[in-house]
Structures are given as structure tokens and as C-alpha cells.
């Protein structure tokens, strides 16, 4: 039952906000925005008829009019609970870069971090070559929507051969009721440079729509570790798309933790050049009526690429999880080595998961595998713990916790790991560890 999607209220409100959007005087950006607007006008929000969206109904986005705001009110104590001590940080409040809350002092000259507004106000020739190049408006109409609506974001560039000593944390924070926080971020890791970026999505408003698009460029032999911790408010809607261009010999390590929001969609797409590697890990936890969609697409374009994908899901109550993992091996991508695995744990009879691994192989000399499981906790494991004195509810929590914690365990950043560990423990309160 596809609800007819109507983008009209958003389109009607657009002219009033357009002039306040950054880059109004840049013809190339105006073209991107107008093109995005046209795509959005033609298609509305993606709907169930679209193969890539067949499990995820975005009708709710039409029911509430989410609007941009320049409100910057925030409870900083609450924010600080998510801030990592040992990291530089950028804070985007309601989709706008906050220079007062961001902590960038002492940032070395090799690392440039600017708000998208500032970057567009300055000499934007370099940015022009990046923005809209890792992903185009044709990707789908939420990306097009983001192109038209993004009000800010962050532009990061790491100089060649430089290895960042500390990670950069990007806190996407929404505090204003029914806000639309649309951001576009551009990340450039130059040749042989290495960086770690941690994205946190949080919100103190009850309901809002956070829509972020990241365009990442890994130049030859560059390395990027990118963590995404989506812990949005219970009733929030979330879209986060990360689109990566990997030059030869580059390495991408992505971790996607999808814990919050009532409706969440994450896209990860990477285009791999010669001998580049990408590893994408994910953990989605759904409870109550949460709907969490994860979409990954790994494009092996050139020979000798390596990709590893490991996603786990835990769905309780009436929650629904979606995993669509596509691996495309182009004709030229000989000697590709690719593995994909998705394991799901259903904790209730009403919980549901749609998992769809897709391998499309056009080269002949490749090593590709994929595997999917959907199951419940094993009763013999529950009984084993009970037979050692652990009550049944705790036994189930311990086993669920252990299943999910495998993904948290892969996090190398100790502070982030502790933060995620706490989240997990709150969801599955096993006895004290």
C-alpha cells in the first residue's frame, strides 16, 4: 500500500527560504540546487515503488511539515555527554555550524575544517570540483532534496601525507521541534593521508527530520575511518547518506550504528579504484515501532579491490529492519575479493527484517561470498545460563547483548566504544559487568 507522496508543502515553502541558503550567488551551486528541486518535484520523497526503497515508507515526511530554523538553543550539559574528550569537534545545531560549540583550537595547519557556509563564501573553486561529484541528484530524490535544501555542513580536508593525531567528531544535534536539519559535508583525504571522523546524530527535540549527505574523497593511498553513531530521538526521522570515491590503494573503514529514530535510513556507497579496500560494519537495533533501513552499495570498478561487509540487526516488539547490500563487480574489476554477511536476531514474533544481499558480477576472476541469517535466541543457550543461576530475563539480555556487542567490540576508538557500550547496556540491561 503505497501512500501517495506529496512534496507540495515543501516545494511551496522553498522560495521563502531559498534566499537565505548559502551559495545563492554561485551559479554552479544554483544549478545543483535547481536540478535537485526539479528531481524532488518530479518524484517527491522516494516511495515503495522504487526498488531501492521498497521496504521503507516515507509517507510520514509528508504528514509533518519539517522546516529549517536558525534557532541555536541547546543544553550544553546534555551535549557534552556525547562529546569525546580526546577529539576535535564540530557541532551542527539544527543543521547549522556552531562556531561557539565547536572545538577546533590547536588544529594543525595540515587539517582544514570549515563550515559549508564559510567555504561557499570564500574561494569555492576547489569545493566546486567536489560538491555533487561523489553523489549526484540522480541517486534518489532524498539526495536531490538535500541538494536543494542543505543550509550548512562542514568541509574537511587533510593534507597529503598527514596523519591526524586525534579524531574529528561531528555532532549533528537537533534541539528545535519539527526542525529540518539538512546538511552537506565534504571530506577530502589527500594522498597518503589518514584521518578518523566520528559522526554522532542526537536530538533533544521530540520530532524532527535530520537529512545529511556526506561526500568523501579518498585520494591515492589515503585512509579514512568513519564512524556513524545514530542515536536520534525516539520520534525523529533520519536520513544519512555517505558516498565515497576511493582512489587507488585507498582504505575506507566504516562503522554504522543505527540505534535511534522512528524512521531511519542510511546509505553507504563506495566506488573502489585499483587495489583499494573498504570495510563496512553495521549494527541496527530496533524496538517498539522503529523502522531502520540500511542500504549499502560497493562498486568494484577496477582490479584487486577488497571489500568486507558485516551487518548485524536486533529487532524487538514491532520493529522492522532492512538490510539491502549490493556488491557490484564491474567487468574491469578482476581479482576482486568481496565478502558480505548479515545476521539478524528477532526478539519478538511481531518484529521483522527484510534482508537482501545482492551480488552483481561482471568480471570472471573474482572471489565473492555472501551469507544471511535471521533467527531467534537459542533456547539451549538461555537454559545453559539459567542452569548457572542467571534468571531467564537476564539470560536473554546477556545473549542479546553479546550478539550486538560483537560490532561495538570492533570500534577501535576507546571513548566511542565506551559510549556505544553504555547505549547497548541500557537497551539490554545484563547484570553488571
Amino acid at each position: 500500500m503505497a501512500v501517495e507522496q506529496s512534496p507540495e508543502s515543501y516545494l511551496a515553502a522553498y522560495p521563502a527560504i531559498a534566499s537565505a541558503l548559502p551559495g545563492a550567488d554561485l551559479p554552479w551551486l544554483q544549478q545543483l540546487r535547481q536540478d535537485g528541486l526539479k528531481t524532488f518535484e518530479a518524484h517527491g520523497f522516494p516511495n515503495l515503488r522504487d526498488e531501492e526503497w521498497r521496504y521503507t515508507n516515507l509517507a510520514v515526511l509528508n504528514k509533518t511539515q519539517f522546516t529549517p530554523t536558525d534557532n541555536q538553543e541547546i543544553d550544553t550539559d546534555w551535549l557534552d555527554a556525547y562529546r569525546l574528550e580526546n577529539a576535535w569537534s564540530v557541532v551542527l545545531v539544527n543543521g547549522r555550524f556552531s562556531s561557539t560549540l565547536s572545538r577546533l583550537t590547536g588544529l594543525p595547519g595540515e587539517v582544514s575544517v570549515q563550515s559549508m557556509r564559510a567555504a561557499l563564501d570564500g574561494n569555492s573553486t576547489d569545493l566546486q570540483a567536489r560538491l555533487g561529484h561523489a553523489v549526484t541528484n540522480d541517486e534518489h530524490s532524498l539526495v536531490a532534496f538535500n541538494s536543494a535544501w542543505f543550509a550548512d555542513g562542514v568541509v574537511i580536508e587533510v593534507a597529503a601525507n598527514y596523519r591526524m593525531a586525534k579524531p574529528l567528531q561531528i555532532l549533528h544535534v537537533v534541539t528545535y521541534a519539527n526542525a529540518l536539519a539538512a546538511t552537506r559535508n565534504v571530506v577530502v583525504i589527500n594522498e597518503s593521508a589518514e584521518a578518523e571522523i566520528i559522526e554522532n546524530y542526537i536530538g533533544s527535540a521530540a520530532s524532527y527530520f535530520s537529512a545529511a549527505v556526506n561526500e568523501c574523497f579518498l585520494e591515492a593511498n589515503a585512509g579514512l575511518t568513519l564512524y556513524k553513531a545514530q542515536i536520534e530521538a525516539d520520534k525523529a526521522c533520519h536520513f544519512g547518506g555517505t558516498y565515497v570515491k576511493q582512489a587507488r590503494d585507498s582504505r575506507l573503514m566504516h562503522h554504522n550504528f543505527a540505534f535511534g529514530a522512528i524512521l531511519a535510513r542510511t546509505d553507504i556507497r563506495s566506488d573502489l579504484h585499483v587495489a583499494s579496500e573498504c570495510s563496512v560494519n553495521g549494527l541496527y537495533l530496533g524496538a517498539n515501532r522503529q523502522h531502520i533501513d540500511n542500504h549499502t552499495r560497493i562498486n568494484h570498478l577496477m582490479p584487486r579491490g577488497i571489500s568486507r561487509e558485516f551487518y548485524k540487526g536486533v529487532l524487538d516488539n514491532r520493529a522492522r529492519g532492512v538490510f539491502q547490500g549490493r556488491v557490484i563487480v564491474a567487468e574491469d574489476a578482476q581479482q576482486t575479493d568481496s565478502e558480505m554477511s548479515n545476521r539478524n536476531l528477532l526478539l519478538s514474533a511481531d518484529a521483522e527484517v527484510d534482508t537482501k544481499p545482492q551480488l552483481e558480477i561482471y568480471a570472471d576472476d573474482v572471489k565473492c561470498s555472501h551469507g544471511v541469517t535471521v533467527g531467534q535466541l537459542e533456547e539451549k543457550s538461555v537454559f545453559y545460563l539459567q542452569s548457572r543461576g542467571v534468571d531467564e530475563a537476564s539470560a536473554r539480555n546477556i545473549l542479546t547483548f553479546a550478539f550486538a556487542n560483537e560490532m561495538v567490540d570492533k570500534v577501535e576508538n576507546a571513548e566511542l566504544k565506551a559510549l556505544l557500550f553504555k547505549q547497548l547496556l541500557a537497551r539490554f540491561p545484563a547484570i553488571s559487568l
Binding site: 542452569s387 543461576g389 546477556i398
Partner: protein, 249 residues
């Protein structure tokens, strides 16, 4: 300690135990032998409270309480311990975590505070040593990737830490090499105490050479068909079970 009277147990309406009677006094070691499929593991599971078994007749009294009324975890906290014939692998849960969770659950049940972290480590490490295990096993996931023998040894490690009152060993000796058998048997012997009883299910006399039982029973076709002293095990080793068919104790 434990008194089983005329116990009848079915699985999916199929009778497995058919009038089993057995009494174990504090401090006693009872061995149960019997052919495959006789119902030995069924007995151990019913005693520890596993779901899927229907008691159609009879009673089990443990320390004066109706054991069958208690939830599995309560039985464990009251001192019933089952060393499984097939120990379960629990990925993601470390041995040391389970030991601590189990010990604290038991202490809480008896109104005691949580075990002090340092004391706990001292206790656990001494037991690891007793069973000649590598301390690394403590930090590995419970039974995950353990060899058959390592799993059995790990079960006895848990028993050594939890100090149960009734210790049911379901074929703990099967799959152990000669050295491991000796170590596990020594572990069991070190646990023997005036207030602790053992129910040892085994197919082999060689375990009983190390852990000398007070009583040996033969379980066949769902009931105890013969009981005797340690010499009964030797007789069984020699003659098998067929000569007992049709007999009842």
C-alpha cells in the same frame, strides 16, 4: 539430599522415564550407567529444570523442597549443578563474566553481597590452576571453539567455583584423553565433601577408578534396574547390559 520417587517423564507424550526411584544422601557419590537412550540425560535435564519434559507421575525432593516446583535458576542458586553432556557455546560471553554472574546470582539469593573483585579473581585463578587450565580460557567466550575435552574441563571449573551441593555430571569423562581424565577426576575428588553429593553418569569404568562411587546404578528402559557397590561397574564392563534386561531393582 535428593529423593526421587517413582518418577515418570515424557517427551512429547513419549514416556522416557518410567518409575525411577533413587535416594542420595549428603556426601555420597552415585554413579549411573546404562545403555544409550536409556534416559540418563533426560534425568539430568529434569533435575536441572530444562523445558520440554513432562513429569506425569512421581516426585523429586531436594533438601526437603519440591525440586520440580523451582525455576531452573533457583535450583542452580540452591546448589544444583549440571555438567552438561554437550556443553553449549555462548559467543560473546566470556567465561569469567559467566562465572561472576553465576556466583553473584547465587550470593544474592542467599542474602550475601556481591563478591569482591579481587577475591573473585583469587578464587577463580586457584580453580583454574586446580584443573590445570590456561588462564587465557577465562577471557575466551564460553566454550566457543573449545575442544571436546576443554569443554568438559570448563564445566568442572564452573562447578569448582560455584561449589554446588548436588553435582550432576553427565558423561563428563567422555571424550577426555587419559591425562585430562585424571585431571578432571582429581578436580571432582577435590570437591568431594561431607555435605556435597554427586550423581555421575558414565559409560566407563575408568572414571570410577579415580572417583570411587558409594553406589552404582543401572538405568535401563527408564528405571533403575539394578544397584550395587563399585564392583557392579566392573561386572557391567565385563558382561554389558543385556543380562539385566527385564530385571527391576
Amino acid at each position: 539430599m535428593l529423593s526421587i520417587k517413582n518418577l515418570h517423564v515424557s517427551i512429547n507424550d513419549k514416556p522416557i522415564l518410567k518409575g525411577l526411584t533413587l535416594d542420595i544422601n549428603p556426601g555420597e557419590v552415585h554413579a549411573i550407567m546404562g545403555p544409550n537412550g536409556a534416559g540418563k540425560s533426560t534425568l539430568s535435564h529434569v533435575l536441572s529444570g530444562k523445558a520440554g519434559y513432562t513429569v506425569t507421575e512421581g516426585s523429586v525432593t531436594y533438601q526437603g523442597k519440591d525440586l520440580l516446583e523451582l525455576a531452573p535458576e533457583i535450583r542452580a542458586r540452591e546448589g544444583v549443578f549440571l555438567a552438561f553432556q554437550y556443553p553449549v557455546e555462548i559467543p560473546g560471553v566470556s567465561n569469567i563474566y559467566l562465572l561472576k554472574a553465576a556466583l553473584n546470582a547465587m550470593r544474592k539469593h542467599h542474602g550475601l553481597p556481591e563478591v569482591d573483585a579481587m577475591d573473585f579473581l583469587t578464587i577463580v585463578k586457584s580453580k583454574v590452576k586446580l584443573l590445570q587450565m590456561d588462564e587465557k580460557f577465562l577471557y575466551r567466550a564460553v566454550n566457543e571453539g573449545f575442544s571436546g575435552g576443554e569443554k568438559k574441563r570448563n564445566e568442572i571449573l564452573q562447578a569448582a567455583v560455584l561449589e554446588p551441593k548436588l553435582c550432576i555430571l553427565d558423561e563428563t569423562d567422555s571424550g577426555l584423553d587419559i591425562d585430562a581424565l585424571r585431571i578432571v577426576a582429581e578436580g571432582v575428588n577435590s570437591l568431594r565433601a561431607a555435605e556435597r553429593s554427586f550423581l555421575m553418569i558414565t559409560h566407563y569404568q575408568r572414571l570410577l577408578d579415580y572417583v570411587i562411587p558409594d553406589v552404582v546404578h543401572v538405568l535401563a528402559e527408564g528405571r533403575i534396574v539394578k544397584s550395587g557397590g563399585p564392583e557392579l561397574a566392573l561386572e557391567l564392563e565385563e558382561k554389558g547390559y543385556s543380562w539385566l534386561e527385564g530385571q527391576a531393582a
